[in-house]
């Protein structure tokens, strides 16, 4: 139901400032679908985002919103039944989708690295930490054995592992969760990537260890000028780490802004709901928590119009049948919602105050 008859107008998916920035990675209209027995799961459906050199983009959303799949797509780590069906992944001046497997391997782990929530998915249990970091170096650098050893010790020290000369001989199971996370980060940083994709890097960790790992990532970022794509569901982590934020819901970006504007004035009802429903240390204990009603719709039974309509407190009649487009607002940020005037080409996009009063009818 997308009305794609509009001429290629100036691109409006990205916030104005990002569009004009010095872009290291630029993902445009990415669609990654999974063909399963009962149909197609559109895990990532027309997602665009970009990261400026040395900057951090936060990707927020709940499980199943497509944030991890979008990062795996950038790395071309999607396996059948998944497939990148459309879109462009510009890395500096190359489209990563057009590279050969061999060329892609030389980018992966060298120019772009990725870390995961569960370090055991990235670490091989039968090799020592030294072996695994050495492997990355063997792949990407013409180092002698001695140079490899020295660099391995160096990165282990960089990520704060005490006695790296000992730990280099340790197997993953001999390390604590926080130490494994550090080893995985060391592996990702061995070749000094220009971009690190971090998928929920601290979610499985205790808060005191999370604070250590975030501090470590911050330090490395400051020291090396590395850019970061930080995927998380934790708005607190986003607020502390990100420059820009893209909020995702059911495979789409619903709001995209710099971190200050987003937290000062969230525009999309989903973003607002997320921010007000989570108790923080400032929440009034006497008040009931505000909630987002219902739950995320089934990915194979998505509604025709706005994907958030059944849970939205502001749903209008127009939301039922018309999928909103990402719109750039006056301050340059973008939002996908009929509450905000749609592109001038459309004539029926004005939010009607009387329509809001009948919001209840759109639900259930």
């Amino acid at each position: 139901m997308s009305n794609s008859n509009g001429a290629p107008e100036p691109r409006m998916e990205l916030p104005e400032r990002v569009e004009k920035g010095d872009l290291l990675l630029s993902v445009r209209n990415l669609r990654t679908h999974f063909r399963v027995r009962d149909g197609i799961v559109r895990a990532v459906d027309g997602v665009s985002y970009a990261i400026e050199r040395g900057k951090t983009l936060g990707l927020v959303g709940e499980s199943g919103c497509g944030k991890s799949v979008s990062a795996l797509s950038v790395m071309r780590l999607i396996r059948p039944p998944g497939d990148i069906v459309e879109g462009e992944v510009m890395w500096q001046d190359r489209d990563l989708r057009t590279l050969s497997d061999r060329e892609m391997r030389s980018v992966r782990g060298d120019e772009i690295s990725m870390i995961f929530q569960e370090p055991m998915t990235a670490l091989n249990p039968v090799f020592t930490t030294g072996n695994q970091i050495g492997e990355v170096l063997r792949e990407h650098r013409d180092f002698t054995r001695k140079q490899r050893y020295e660099r391995t010790i160096e990165v282990l020290r960089l990520v704060g592992i005490p006695q790296p000369e000992q730990r280099i001989k340790a197997y993953p199971h001999e390390l604590s969760g926080g130490m494994r996370q550090r080893v995985m980060i060391a592996m990702a940083l061995a070749c000094e990537p220009q971009l690190l994709l971090a998928d929920e890097p601290t979610t499985a960790l205790d808060v005191t260890i999370q604070a250590q790992i975030l501090e470590l990532i911050r330090e490395i970022r400051a020291r090396t000028g590395m850019a970061l794509l930080l995927i998380t569901h934790d708005l607190g982590v986003i607020a502390e780490m990100a420059d820009d934020v893209a909020v995702m819901y059911t495979g789409e970006v619903v709001e995209y802004a710099d971190v200050g504007s987003l937290f000062a004035a969230p525009k999309h009802p989903y973003t607002r709901g997320l921010m007000t429903s989570i108790p923080s240390l400032m929440t009034d204990r006497a008040e009931r928590l505000s909630t987002i009603r219902g739950s995320v719709p089934h990915m194979m039974r998505l509604p025709l119009g706005c994907l958030f309509q059944s849970r939205c407190p502001d749903a209008m009649n127009i939301c039922r049948d018309n999928r909103p487009q990402l719109q750039r607002l006056e301050d340059g940020r973008t939002v996908r919602c009929h509450l905000y005037p749609q592109r001038p080409s459309g004539h029926d996009g004005e939010p009607l105050p009387q329509a809001r009063a009948t919001a209840g009818s759109a639900a259930s």
């Binding site: 005191t208 240390l281 909630t291």
Partner: protein, 361 residues
């Protein structure tokens, strides 16, 4: 109501529903070919607290601190190594298991793993009624329908199976299962941490509504301090099997004294990008609970550690109005807003080394 001691003469006052007294739970660690006991995990050591009727008492701490063990030992999932638990003034170890189960129930963290996939939702919820021989089948079905409506799951779904429900709905089913016997006391073990953020607040509101409706008493076990602050009336902070600080919620969050509590609060990322704070990041990791440090158990990571902390275990002391703190140097920090010095990683290494050499002596 006068504070009259309960009949059994154990000093538990009437407004206390659950009293935990010097609860210790050690788990044996087995090794070698003969699987002989080679050590013990000190999951909980001399933990004491009272939970008043109708309140929510929080137990917070990081993984491995013993909070779940305490909750499960109260429910007699495990027998305690030593110590006593009183429920309504009666010694739990002398109560019949069925009586216990009708009065104390638990909801679990994982709404996926805690429901039997082969039994219908109605069967899961009604199992307790059946085991306890409550009512006729028709009456049981009526009770199942009633509790499903109360927790917000349409009773039309009683014949469906758990996999047909989302995480939030499954947690509601778990709550219905726990409440169908109309217990007085509910242990909530990380009830929202496995749920998506937009669902967590629904469940927290539900727990609050149910408490009002049924006069429930909760033991709320969680690692998320913001959630604990919102839900609980009083909170105890655990570290390596010990309570290190305990107070009314506003007091604890307004005037935390123990260096660990303060570090824990500092570590929570604040969802406000305009706030750039100096945070106290504690170095190192949780020491092994099989061989906890001598003296204060936090001494390997503490920014204000003194000699005495390596020799003597600090007792819980009352700093007024039931604000209990187990720290030798707490007096120096019992001032609102006093910043704690940051422990540098060199200092931390030095401490760890000295601890290591002192334990190998």
């Amino acid at each position: 109501m006068a504070t009259e001691t309960a009949g059994s003469g154990n000093g538990v006052s009437d407004d206390v529903l659950v009293s935990v007294q010097k609860l210790t739970k050690h788990f044996p660690v087995r090794g070698g070919i003969l699987l002989r006991t080679i050590g013990h995990v000190h999951a909980a050591d001399e933990v004491s607290f009272d939970i008043k009727r109708g309140e929510t008492f929080g137990l917070v701490g990081e993984s491995g601190c013993g909070k779940t063990t305490v909750g499960r030992t109260i429910l007699r999932v495990y027998p305690p190594t030593s110590g006593d638990i009183y429920f309504g003034g009666e010694d739990v170890s002398k109560l019949d298991r069925k009586v216990l189960a009708r009065n104390m129930q638990i909801i679990f963290q994982d709404p996926y793993g805690s429901l039997d996939p082969r039994i219908t939702v109605g069967g899961i919820i009604g199992e307790g009624l059946e085991v306890h021989g409550i009512g006729s089948p028709d009456e049981r079905n009526e009770q199942i329908r009633e509790i499903m409506d109360i927790v917000g799951i349409s009773s039309h779904y009683a014949q469906r199976y758990p996999h047909e429900f989302s995480g939030g709905q499954r947690q509601r089913i778990g709550i219905a299962r726990a409440l169908v016997l109309r217990p007085q006391f509910l242990v909530c073990d990380e009830p929202v941490s496995a749920l998506d953020v937009s669902i967590q607040s629904q469940i927290l509101n539900l727990l609050r509504d149910l408490q009002g409706e049924f006069g429930l008493t909760y033991l709320f076990i969680a690692h998320n301090l913001a959630v604990v602050r919102y839900v609980c009336d009083r909170v105890a902070v655990m570290y390596l099997g010990k309570i290190v600080e305990q107070a009314d919620t506003p007091e604890l969050f307004g005037n935390a004294i123990h260096p660990y509590t303060r570090a824990l609060m500092d570590a929570i990322p604040v969802p406000d990008p305009s706030e750039q704070r100096e945070r106290l990041i504690i170095p190192g990791e949780l020491p092994s609970p099989t061989n906890p440090p001598q003296g204060c158990r936090f001494n390997t990571r503490c920014a204000v550690v003194q000699d005495v902390c390596f020799n003597e275990e600090p007792p819980l002391r009352d700093f007024g109005d039931g604000h209990l703190v187990a720290c030798h140097v707490a007096e120096d920090f019992d001032r609102r807003g006093t910043a704690l010095p940051q422990l540098s990683s060199e200092m931390h290494d030095a401490i760890t080394d000295s601890v290591r050499s002192s334990t190998t002596d």
